[in-house]
Symmetry: C2
């Protein structure tokens, strides 16, 4: 093994991840990625065979990380509100790193479903965990801590409030004439705002 010892492969993958998921340039060419990583374009093919393989690898890793963390929280033994709080934090962390992840899923998932099918195989026990969480939501409604509704609607509301502000950053930067730093501040503040919107407390 050479002196670089797997560093180049890592470098390319991380650069691709940054370009695709952080900067949202999903049309970036192999040349763009190679340039950004400061390596010869052929290396990209050497390590990953094709642009497609690299793209899917990056995509899949980010998605799996997010899903795993979400399911960890969903499956944990914790009071409901604390669970939601943790979810908000997980989303905040993951979408800060990969703000375009949700956009990518939305765009690809129903374009070539068969191709991306494998990326969405259920996590072990995932279905079960989801059902339990919906039941938990129902119990909270019964207790009166959150508004009466279909549990699935609370679920979608929660994810909408968490994810959308990351997806729509460019829109609000323009609409409210904010800087990126200003928007980041807003996103942090929103964490508690989400909870107060969803919980009657």
């Amino acid at each position: 093994m050479s002196v670089k010892d797997g560093k180049t492969e890592q470098l390319i993958k991380e650069t691709a991840k940054r370009i695709f998921l952080t900067e949202g340039k999903m049309l970036a060419t192999t040349q763009d990625i190679a340039d950004a990583a400061g390596v010869n374009r052929t290396l990209l093919h050497y390590y990953f065979r094709s642009r497609d393989v690299l793209f899917n690898m990056v995509f899949k890793e980010a998605l799996t990380k997010l899903r795993t963390r979400v399911h960890e929280v969903l499956g944990s033994e914790m009071p409901f509100k604390q669970k939601v709080e943790n979810l908000v934090n997980v989303f905040y962390e993951e979408l800060t790193e990969s703000p375009y992840l949700e956009t990518f899923i939305a765009l690809h998932l129903n374009q070539e479903p068969e191709k991306y099918e494998e990326l969405f195989i259920a996590l072990p026990g995932g279905r079960e965990r989801m059902k339990n969480f919906l039941k938990e939501i129902q119990r909270e409604m019964d207790k009166g801590t959150i508004a009466e509704n279909k549990p699935v609607n609370f679920f979608i509301n929660l994810f909408a409030l968490m994810a959308y502000p990351f997806v729509a950053r460019p829109i609000y930067l323009k609409m409210f004439d904010l800087t990126n730093a200003g928007y980041n501040k807003l996103l942090t503040e929103r964490k508690s705002s989400i909870l107060s919107t969803l919980f009657k407390n």
Copy 2:
């Protein structure tokens, strides 16, 4: 003028709109569009000069339509809650037609900002209308009909709850094993759910 009388141009534009904004296939080639419209690919260039021009035209028209309708509602004389109700309806209608519009904006707006700048020139009086709406939100908070918060957060919450479920349709279709029809039903039900989430009533 020929017998078809502008029909072909319309046909191409509407097909492009469907493919780009309704089906979300934003990588569709000129050939894809021509095929879907059942016309020769050259016609696309004849009428629109380039793929780019067509793409931007479709994009701009849909965006302008949505923005115009939103601002009509914002600027209307109406009780606050009714205004929000109307906004929800406008979004529902427009995003049913162009569910990928928000995704497109998010993806393009900070890729080549100078290029898309012109698509986002403020509507006449837009800034003013926006400010007034934020003030209205503040008044409602003072009255206690909605939760105390930064007005901009209420604004983002509102748009998140309206837009995200359209952006994320493919995700929830999979996650909850729904059909498109089932998801449509859910979206309709959500209209009132959004209001009850945001208003203390």
